[in-house]
């Protein structure tokens, strides 16, 4: 019985996240439309939601073209890596009390590791395409994601210090007893948010793709479902980062009793997904050197100061 439930949860998470990613493609375009004073796709089905299905059918039906000059093995492996890594990230999320795929005691580290693995996908995709634009995109991705990863991990350490655990369930329980981490760890939240955008290479930090300069960046040569996997991976990343923000800084499933916990979790995640899209609608892309100097000169020191201050306060409280 317990096994059956856990299998149900696993399939639910798998299906839910993939469907969510597919619907997000439509939802993002609709929301961008609203913020740009137009309608967005509204023809297929009610409100145009059939577009998600139509997109999936289109991607599956497209010719799956591997350019003759590409490195075949890497070219095929790259899009898989991002999807697998992002889906693995969903495994450690606590959706509601008792509803999680795995409550690892190193859950946070697992999440950071999986998002780091996603870098390989972009990097290998850019490298194996044997294309100048793809290579430039991969190059940018490598530098951007590696440097933003540094303080992405560090920004969460304040939370870990206060909780004393890497487990996401523990983190939520701590927030139930004390207060949501958005208040004591506001700096950590801001830094994690920015690093999370860079990590899922969404606008304004979409320099690896940068369609205005690099055609489509690292996935210039990709078509059909391989391109689709990059897209789904990107949207899974958006959902994953939003969910992690909701869990770590906004109390995950916590909320007043009139709604079930999982709904609270969904609402919080949804708000952050909308925020991701708002960023895309509003903020222009920085230049490459601006991105790097912003990361290393402002974000990293800020994180370290936050870390030191949190540590000092924890020690002071204990003494």
């Amino acid at each position: 019985m317990v096994e059956l439930i856990s299998i149900l949860i696993i399939y639910g998470v798998l299906l839910g996240s993939l469907t969510g990613a597919a619907i997000l493609i439509w939802f993002e375009r609709r929301l961008l439309g609203i913020w740009q004073d137009r309608l967005g796709p509204n023809r297929v089905g009610p409100l145009g939601i059939g577009l998600a299905l139509a997109d999936v059918i289109k991607l599956f039906a497209k010719e799956d073209w591997i350019p003759p000059f590409a490195d075949r093995l890497m070219f095929v492996l790259a899009p898989m890596a991002v999807m697998i890594a992002m889906l693995m990230g969903f495994a450690i999320l606590p959706y509601a009390p008792g509803i999680h795929v795995a409550d690892l005691n190193i859950g946070l580290l697992f999440f950071l590791g999986m998002t780091s693995l996603a870098v390989y996908s972009v990097l290998l995709g850019g490298l194996s395409s044997n294309n100048k634009y793809a290579l430039l995109g991969g190059l940018r991705a490598a530098a951007q994601m590696v440097s933003y990863e540094v303080f992405m991990g560090l920004s969460l350490m304040g939370v870990v210090m206060l909780t004393g655990s890497f487990s996401l369930v523990e983190i939520v329980n701590y927030q139930q007893e004390h207060t949501w981490f958005i208040i004591p760890q506001f700096v950590g939240f801001v830094v994690f948010m920015i690093a999370g955008i860079a990590e899922s290479h969404r606008l304004p930090f979409d320099l690896p793709e940068a369609e205005h300069e690099l055609v489509a960046g690292f996935h210039t040569e990709y078509s059909g479902m391989k391109f689709g996997m990059f897209m789904v991976g990107e949207y899974l990343g958006v959902i994953l980062i939003s969910a992690i923000i909701a869990v770590i800084f906004f109390g995950g499933w916590l909320g007043p009793d009139f709604l079930p916990p999982i709904i609270w979790f969904a609402i919080k995640t949804f708000i952050f997904i909308c925020f991701f899209i708002l960023l895309r609608a509003a903020i222009p892309r920085p230049r490459y050197d601006q991105l790097m100097s912003f990361g290393w000169k402002y974000m990293l020191p800020l994180t370290l100061i936050n870390l030191l201050a949190t540590g000092a306060i924890v020690l002071w409280l204990q003494a």
Binding site: G33, W35, D37, L39, L278, A282, I283
Partner: protein, 175 residues
Amino acid sequence: MINTIWSQLVTLYRVLLHTFTPADTVQYPEEMPYLAPRYRGRIVLTRDPDGEERCVACNLCAVVCPVDCIALQKTEDQDGRWYPEFFRINFSRCIMCGMCEEACPTYAIQLTPDFEMCEYDRQKMVYEKEHLLISGQGKYPGYSFYGVAGKTIKGKAKGEALNEEEPVDIRSLLP
């Protein structure tokens, strides 16, 4: 740095306010957009008040056309009126610039507020005279080229046109 961050936040807020702005979109097939009377769309050939073709096949439109989409051949009927033997516009080339309308000395060729002329077969975009010619007078009702021009046709001798003086008999010695 502070200014930069502040400006980004203001941008976010202002874009967020657009949630409450109605969309500018006109849902085209269900909701037709307003087209001004002088909108430059499908080209027509008009007729004068007597119901005769206005076009005198002067070829000015074909000459001025920047994409060379107009082709015609002049011919003459028994009354002495000039008219095009064929008049052909290739709408797959036409850019709706309206130069032909400006060049036309007889108000014959006119652009209309209609752009719905899609075809699956490219050959169907070539319009012949029977497709172009309409029975009305278009934008300039009451204008007749032969009624104001000095050209003689059957039923209108020299000096009978509007504001035209009687022809002078240059062999006469009378004052």
